[in-house]
Symmetry: C2
Subunit: 190 residues, 2 copies
DNA sequence: AAAATAAATTAACATATGTAAAGTGAATAA
DNA sequence: TTATTCACTTTACATATGTTAATTTATTTT
């Protein structure tokens, strides 16, 4: 889920030919966007894979009028609305930049087409999705295994620097607790 | 994660050539195994993808001496230790049959090789893993979104028939609560 | 069928966590 | 700079959930 492979990282999963690299590079769009930019709104169909090259973004949804942040991408990590991109459903979540960010955007359609043209990229992509699955399951595991307190301590490891760059209320919902409980957790640490 | 594509279901994700289907069919092993059979033990490296054609299996791990069931596969669903198969790590979880089952086994190595020989299978597999990722994320979402009560009601939908075929203590840990709380939940429903 | 084991429920109690509200501090906008 | 908004913490209270233990029910085993 994180450390989204740029071309080189893709190539680490499976070697890519020069032709494939060139083709792949041509479908990447680079953008620099200000704080609070919405990369995806609720209900829209997501069509784009984002790579937060430098910056911070969150994905969140609404539960009874309350925002639940369920995913962060920081400095080099990957971000997309998986259910929407891969299943064509309207997105139940929104994606927002928490700070000014430099991002790489890839149309999923372009990516899919590129995979069809290059078996080596298809293979790297399959391995990538195995990896994303793995990381996704670690998230589940984390929710089951660990207390809110433990997860708080883990956030910084998985997203280095985030605690100083992100409102704690986002962190609170991310680790599955209330902002009040998070304050209690933090008070107990010092 | 569930409804593991047999060959036909793979083909639904992307058309497969006759040669590919034949090749794929040759790597599937069919077995009939008794209740309580361990498909995978703790600490072993998992090398096999399982498809529970008819029957019931669970994956579980140990937390402070307590068994936590985190995954079920019933009648036609897929089962494997993702972190171990895709990352080569010793498995932190074990897989056990809850009842006598007919299962299809595929060596991941064979599968990987078969993908290398057939771009169409590779493509279907990539789409499969996108789908598994999707379902995995729904699991996360379910843990965040829903109360133990709601998740109890959902188990039967996702795993039709399971409540009459599986000890409730497994269900309790699966939905992230204690057996006592599950009893209270059930008592409150009638 | 009887005995033994395992599973499920119930009760009693302690505790963690959520909610609501008030207060403090920091950041942003006018 | 001042005013306004937002972020964070703290308190008080209610409640849901876990733990332990006792009891009932179901399932295996001999």
């Amino acid at each position: 889920m994180e450390n989204f492979p740029d071309i080189d990282a893709f190539a680490e999963l499976h070697p890519l030919s020069a032709a494939c690299r060139e083709d792949f590079a041509s479908i990447i769009q680079i953008q620099s966007l200000p704080k609070n930019t919405m990369l995806l709104d609720f209900g829209k169909k997501a069509t784009t894979l984002f790579f937060i090259k430098k910056g911070l973004a969150r994905a969140y949804y609404n539960r009874d009028g309350e925002e639940i942040t369920y995913y962060f991408a920081i400095d080099g990590q990957f971000m997309c609305s998986v259910p929407s991109v891969f299943d064509g459903r309207p997105s139940f979540s929104a994606i927002q930049l928490i700070e000014q960010s430099d991002i790489h955007c890839i149309s999923y359609q372009d990516f899919d087409d590129c995979c069809a043209r290059h078996h080596d990229l298809e293979r790297a992509a399959r391995k990538l999705f195995s990896l994303l699955l793995l990381l996704g399951l670690e998230d589940i595991e984390s929710l089951r295994f660990h207390s809110a307190h433990e997860r708080y301590l883990m956030v910084e490891k998985r997203h280095p620097g985030i605690l100083n760059r992100c409102p704690l209320k986002y962190i609170a919902s991310y680790i599955g607790t209330s902002q009040v409980s998070l304050s209690r957790i933090r008070a107990g640490i010092q």
